[in-house]
């Protein structure tokens, strides 16, 4: 192989058609409030864990939505279940339940 001193870059575009939506669908069935997120960020800004580490429920939702189950499972571990986010959420999303479901999926691989 020739070395030209440069190589093509990785394509950053998310190909929606190739995403795996199974996890998202599974979560949405476990808790029907999941789809109600409007990404306002209230959860992330009140988060107890969020003041010490990069953890955001809003991003967790995004990861689930875009099929990034692995990251969602890893991130969800940081939650302390303190409940501030579910008290603060303007859309009444059952945040702790969703986190528990993600954790449960991480432990039991239901898919």
């Amino acid at each position: 192989m020739k070395d030209f001193g440069f190589s093509p870059m990785k394509n950053k575009v998310l190909n929606f058609d190739e995403l795996n939506h199974d996890f998202h669908q599974w979560i949405a069935i476990q808790d029907s409030s999941f789809n109600l997120c409007i990404a306002c960020g209230t959860c992330a800004s009140t988060c107890s864990a969020g003041s010490y580490t990069h953890f955001s429920f809003r991003e967790l939702c995004k990861d689930i939505r875009w099929g990034n189950a692995e990251k969602a499972m890893k991130e969800s571990e940081k939650c302390m279940l303190c409940g501030k986010c579910s008290i603060a959420c303007p859309r009444n999303i059952n945040t702790r339940n969703i986190i528990k479901m993600v954790r449960k999926a991480a432990k039991t691989s239901p898919l």
Binding site: D17, A39, K62, W66
Partner: protein, 338 residues
Amino acid sequence: MRKTVAIIGGGITGMEAAIQINKLGHTVHVFEKDEKLGGHVAQWDHVFPNQRKAREIINELTCQISEEINIHLSSFVEKISQIDDSFVIKSDNNELKADAIVLASGFELFSASKKEEYGYGIFENVITSVDLERMFVEKGHPFMRNGEIPQRIAFIHCVGSRDEKVKRTYCSKVCCITAVKQAIEVKESIPEASVYNLYMDLRMFGPGYEDMYQKAQQKGITFIRGRLSEASEVENNRILIKTEDTLSSRPIKMTVDLIVLMIGISPSLANNQILSDLKLEPNKDGFAEIADDHLSPTHSKVKGVFIAGACTGPCSITDAINASRSASVEVHHYLNQV
């Protein structure tokens, strides 16, 4: 003394104004360029926020139009001239002298082919919100050009709204909620379909709108915050769309069977002639300008000329009816003074 009022436009605004002004004891003439009354609303299948049949609204208004009201159908207003306090309206086949004018000439739909990169008129399966309503009227569900039932449908918000590139800098106000309404209807008519909404902001300002938005979310309709940049036709005439999920800063591409362009409300070109006849200036967006933003929402800057409905800018049915009634009262006061 009985006075004569000319109403330009026979959409819901004009119909309501005719009914009200007639009730107030004046002679009313309605000029409608089409063959029937009802304007844009008559083209619609269901309307937001309660998914009521649009026909119901037209029918109720039609029932109230009494024999006394003179309706001139297929009458395009060619020229209006002002002589002292009265106006002469010249239309295709006659001339009428009126003491006051209510401009209710409505709007034009944004021509979707102006957003060339969305491929309307070029790609088989790019339709507008109006086309979709027609499909609902025809078959009760959307369909692709080849007759198949689409399984992935994307709604593209703000086509011809809030877009400097097509010289429409304003918000068309009703498209967000229409998109949500139509997304729900698509999902209800094709439950297995995936429905996506590509939006910049969701402006759910009216009563019941936010509830509809939640309902749509609950039905599993996906909302992606990002504007469509370009569409392309791929195999089987499906549409490849590109946007960015701005909430996660990732560009996205996806293939769908059908895209629905939520076309905005544009000023009517036919209005320009009437406005210049009456020595009125359009506002910066091209709509008829109201005399005062807060206190005279149905006065024009010319005495005896009143304006109501979507010819003053994007508005909902409720707004149009409100404006119509407000204008009717103003017309009445004005005629009593003259």
